[in-house]
């Protein structure tokens, strides 16, 4: 690997290119040398406050240089950073402080029993040395615990090491063919693994990251593109929908400036893929496949010949894929013989925090076994056709709800939709479709359209209107939440 840890990368680049812009946020900019100096000074402050090797330090994520500096300073002091979403309420923070037995909380006001260090204490620090050589961490050491916000159940703590952070950064860096002079805009929340890992990739490349507070105030994105002559953007699919909704095709003006745009944390809807490809025909456009547990395993440049239905691209540098049967036995896969995707590599998490049984069930012999169904083609491309727990089994035919939703979304007037299933005495299960649409949409005409574009057993047996499709922050359809709402409201 290029570096044993991200701190090694910062230390290297602060010597090699000290004046190069490392980070910018809405208030300030910092070069590699000053970033290193600030990390060293913040580390000294944490040590004065008694931080010890292995101590957990909880903090809320912000879209600022200061936040990232706190994370690295905690790690340089031998501690473990535990970032939470910025919107976390006091109860959530106290819960994580207790769960992780954190010894310190960096925040705006004291909480729980942990020692409190004010977030803004960093601004008063006198900067002197940038030398962190003596304190650089062991690559096997735990660097961070990432808590999921729990879309399918309770929040899980994903424990990662310095080495796995570098491995996932390399997966991203090589996966998108990042250049050393890359300048990437990251508007997504920095507690989220997707955002952190794009930042890590730029760090190990010695490139530049511009942090934005979301993309709702869209002019800030266009201003940042102009001001920094940014060459890349990292987005979640929902953010692209917002860009289209608020600015229509304006992003197309940056076709010759942008080197690539990468999308992650959820598959991009086909219609959005087509539209962004039309607007940015000269850019590389990536959809990244992975998980918080094992990041950025596959990258697909969907503005290339590899963009085939279901294709998620080639495995990234540290990822190795296999396809298995339900008993985890490796199988020879093909379009006619699909199985479950499993992958392993140095980017995998160490474990779930305080969940040894869950860890053992999730990672077996180094492989993360998913419920994603797919196959690998002769050239080594990986295909993902749906999730086993979402798949509808109708008369022995397996139907991916995503395929029905994709088709329905193409029908004019369907603003959003979600596919579900209901028990059927004859077929076992049959697909149903719930749509968000205006009153003038003719449900019969939609049904006819679906009948023309889908195989018979995939055509929904009933179509109903709903007000909203529940989605997670990153735009994924929140099926578990929908099932819950359906049960509560008795939507049939």
């Amino acid at each position: 690997m290029l570096f044993p840890s991200l701190l090694h990368a910062i230390d290297t680049y602060q010597k090699q290119c000290p004046d190069k812009l490392c980070l910018a946020d809405s208030a300030e900019e910092i070069c590699y040398r000053d970033y290193a100096r600030r990390i060293v000074a913040t580390c000294a402050l944490l040590q004065t406050n008694g931080i010890q090797q292995g101590d957990r330090v909880v903090l809320k994520a912000k879209q600022t240089i200061s936040y990232l500096c706190w994370c690295h300073a905690i790690q340089l002091a031998g501690g473990i950073a535990v970032p939470l979403e910025n919107s976390a309420g006091d109860m959530r923070v106290e819960q994580i402080l207790a769960l992780t037995e954190a010894s310190m909380y960096v925040g705006d006001a004291p909480l729980g029993d942990a020692k409190f260090v004010p977030y803004d204490a960093q601004s008063d620090l006198a900067l002197s040395s940038a030398d962190m050589t003596q304190q650089l961490p062991d690559p096997q050491q735990i660097s961070m615990i990432l808590f999921t916000t729990g879309t399918t159940g309770a929040s899980k703590g994903i424990v990662v090491t310095h080495m796995s952070e570098v491995a996932v950064a390399e997966n991203v860096m090589y996966g998108v063919s990042m250049k050393p002079d890359n300048i990437e805009i990251i508007p997504t929340p920095m507690n989220h693994s997707f955002s952190l890992r794009r930042y890590y990739a730029n760090l190990i490349r010695g490139a530049t990251v511009v942090l934005l507070e979301g993309i709702i105030f869209l002019q800030q994105l266009f201003d940042a593109l102009d001001r920094y002559k940014a060459t890349a953007i990292a987005l979640v699919p929902a953010a692209l929908s917002v860009i289209f909704k608020l600015s229509r095709d304006q992003i197309g003006q940056y076709n010759h400036q942008l080197d690539y745009v990468q999308f992650g944390s959820a598959p991009l809807p086909e219609a959005d893929k087509e539209r962004i490809t039309r607007l940015l025909p000269d850019c590389r456009l990536y959809n990244i496949y992975g998980s918080t547990e094992s990041g950025c395993a596959c990258s697909l440049n969907f503005n290339s010949a590899d963009n085939m239905p279901g294709c998620i691209g080639f495995p990234n540098r540290h990822a190795h894929f296999i396809v298995t049967d339900a008993q985890h036995n490796q199988i020879e896969s093909s379009p006619e013989h699909i199985g479950f995707l499993a992958y392993r590599g140095a980017m995998a998490m160490e474990k779930y925090y305080n969940e040894p049984e869950l860890t053992e069930r999730t990672i077996i012999d180094g492989y993360l076994y998913t419920k994603d169904l797919g196959y690998i083609d002769a050239q080594g491309r990986v295909y993902m056709l749906g999730r086993d727990d979402d798949v509808i089994n109708t008369g022995g035919n397996k139907v991916s709800p995503g395929e029905i939703e994709e088709c329905a979304r193409r029908y004019e007037g369907v603003e959003d939709c979600i596919c579900g299933a209901t028990k059927d005495a004859v077929m076992g299960e049959v697909p149903l479709l719930y749509i968000v649409a205006g009153d003038d949409l003719d449900l019969r005409a939609l049904h006819q359209y679906l009948s023309q574009h889908l195989e018979g057993f995939k055509v929904p047996k009933r179509i109903a209107r709903i007000n909203q499709v529940p989605r997670t922050y990153n735009g994924k359809i929140w099926r578990a939440k929908f099932a819950e709402i359906k049960a509560l409201r008795q939507i049939t």
């Binding site: 910025n86 919107s87 979301g214 709702i216 105030f217 869209l218 002019q219 800030q220 266009f222 917002v242 909704k245 608020l246 600015s247 304006q250």
Partner: protein, 73 residues
């Protein structure tokens, strides 16, 4: 202004928009609120708020949002 207040109250019935002056600075409105408010404003007032006007300062209070709308009326 009454129409705007109705839009805002429908988007976030839990807030007193007559009093709030830091809707964005204090992160009282989230991204979904802002998208739904902008969409409603565009529809109800038959305007098209320009991307250049999507700035936090224009959304910190009901008064600021009304000033923005007036620009297009």
């Amino acid at each position: 202004m009454d129409q705007l207040m109705k839009i805002l109250e429908e988007a976030r019935p839990d807030l007193d928009f007559a009093k709030e002056t830091k809707l964005i600075d204090d992160a009282i409105l989230d991204s979904f609120d802002i998208i739904s408010i902008v969409s409603e404003i565009n529809d109800v007032f038959d305007i098209n708020v320009n991307v250049a006007d999507l700035q936090p300062i224009n959304f910190n209070s009901a008064e600021a949002i009304w000033t923005l709308i007036e620009k297009y009326l």
